[in-house]
């Protein structure tokens, strides 16, 4: 599951509050199961937000990040266009979602 909070429309120059959350266990690789075996690391390693194809926000994740990571950042509305949110895990698997922003 992915949850995104972003307005559909904005005025040019307006500062937008963006929030994004993805469901992911962020298993650290340091924990052991009931039998004493190491639970393998399974984490998201990076997040990218592009606006009209240009990277506007990027984050690297480490094992210390909690499960279901929640990001909140700001963006200045410039022109209408797609905003893509993309998460990549340690194996290169990706999840993404795109929203259209209309700027007037």
């Amino acid at each position: 599951m992915i949850r995104i909070s972003i307005p559909d429309t904005a005025k040019a120059g307006e500062i937008l509050d963006i929030k994004a959350m993805i469901q992911h266990p962020m298993e650290t690789g340091y924990r052991r199961n009931g039998k004493g075996q190491v639970i393998p690391r399974d984490i998201i390693t990076s997040f990218e937000c592009t606006y009209g194809g240009v990277i506007v926000f990027k984050a690297g994740f480490q094992p210390g990040i909690a499960a279901n990571p929640f990001l909140s950042f700001c963006l200045r509305a410039a022109q209408s266009g797609p905003i893509e949110f993309k998460w990549t895990d340690q194996r290169g698997e990706t999840w993404s979602e795109t929203r259209e922003l209309t700027v007037s």
């Binding site: 599951m1 949850r3 909070s5 929030k19 959350m21 469901q23 266990p25 962020m26 909690a66 499960a67 279901n68 929640f70």
Partner: protein, 261 residues
């Protein structure tokens, strides 16, 4: 509960009376009724208060999608949205006795009955992502609704069984639920402030789990904490305890999806 917690518990046990009647003498005065939310740190409260930051909504959203999807059977929504089988507030009245079988079912059990009886689909495994999602979604429709269950008639024997379990001393620490949640609420147990043990936040998100879980998962943690054998998910006894807890919490608002430490 780890070593330091175990030591604190050992003291609690030793300081209590050996008499089995001890546990039964306690109770919760109605005017003292307080949600577990009131015992949380401000940061954890803030997480529950913000419908975006609250990770429980990942499961509510998942359940919303499942509720409206038709996987080779009429969707839940086809019978429950805008009909006289509307589910707003329903969750605040669970567990409830199912008229057809005469058995007590909680929300999870009720959802599985609909899958079997009305959708011809297999029941979902307890604590599976799908059942947690559907339960979270249906429970969220009753958010803010005061807890109110029926414990008369066929429900009475379940209520009594749940109450008996609540006051039963058990496990290596020989503690009853009541000894923490009636007699010692507001006091500290290692990193926790003991609350009154209401189930109104569940299914909910626990930071310790880094995950979303059912009330039965929470109860299993409490039993494991006193080194008693946790009962299986969906067990009749836990469902009876759930009914007892719901009656005991009568009037408190439903909080699911709650956030807890």
């Amino acid at each position: 509960m780890r070593l330091a917690g175990a030591l604190a518990l050992a003291c609690l046990t030793a300081c209590g009376q050996a008499d089995d009647a001890y546990a039964k003498q306690s109770g919760l005065a109605p005017e003292d009724l307080k949600s577990g939310y009131d015992f949380l740190q401000a940061e954890t409260q803030a997480l529950q208060d913000d419908d975006f930051a609250n990770p429980g909504f990942l499961w509510v959203d998942k359940g919303d999608a499942l509720f409206h999807a038709s996987e080779g059977a009429p969707s839940c929504a086809s019978c429950h949205d805008g009909t006289d089988q509307d589910l707003t507030r329903a969750a605040a009245h669970y567990p409830k006795v199912d008229d057809l079988s005469g058995r007590l079912v909680n929300l999870e059990g009720r959802i599985n009955l609909c899958r079997e009886r009305h959708q011809d689909l297999p029941s979902l495994e307890y604590e599976s992502e799908a059942l947690l999602g559907l339960t979270a979604y249906v429970a969220s429709l009753a958010r803010g609704e005061p807890m109110s269950v029926d414990v008369s008639g066929d429900a009475e024997k379940y209520y009594e069984a749940g109450r008996d379990y609540f006051f039963l001393r058990k496990g290596q620490f020989n503690l009853a639920c009541s000894q923490c949640h009636n007699d010692n609420w507001g006091k500290n147990l290692r990193g926790d402030t003991i609350s009154q043990g209401h189930g109104t936040a569940f299914p909910g998100y626990r930071l310790e789990w880094q995950d979303f879980g059912s009330l039965h998962r929470r109860l299993r943690d409490c039993d494991a904490g006193i080194r008693a054998e946790p009962l299986p998910y969906g067990s009749d006894t836990y469902t009876a305890v759930e009914l007892y807890l719901a009656k005991r919490a009568e009037g408190l608002p439903m909080e699911s999806p709650g956030v807890r430490r």
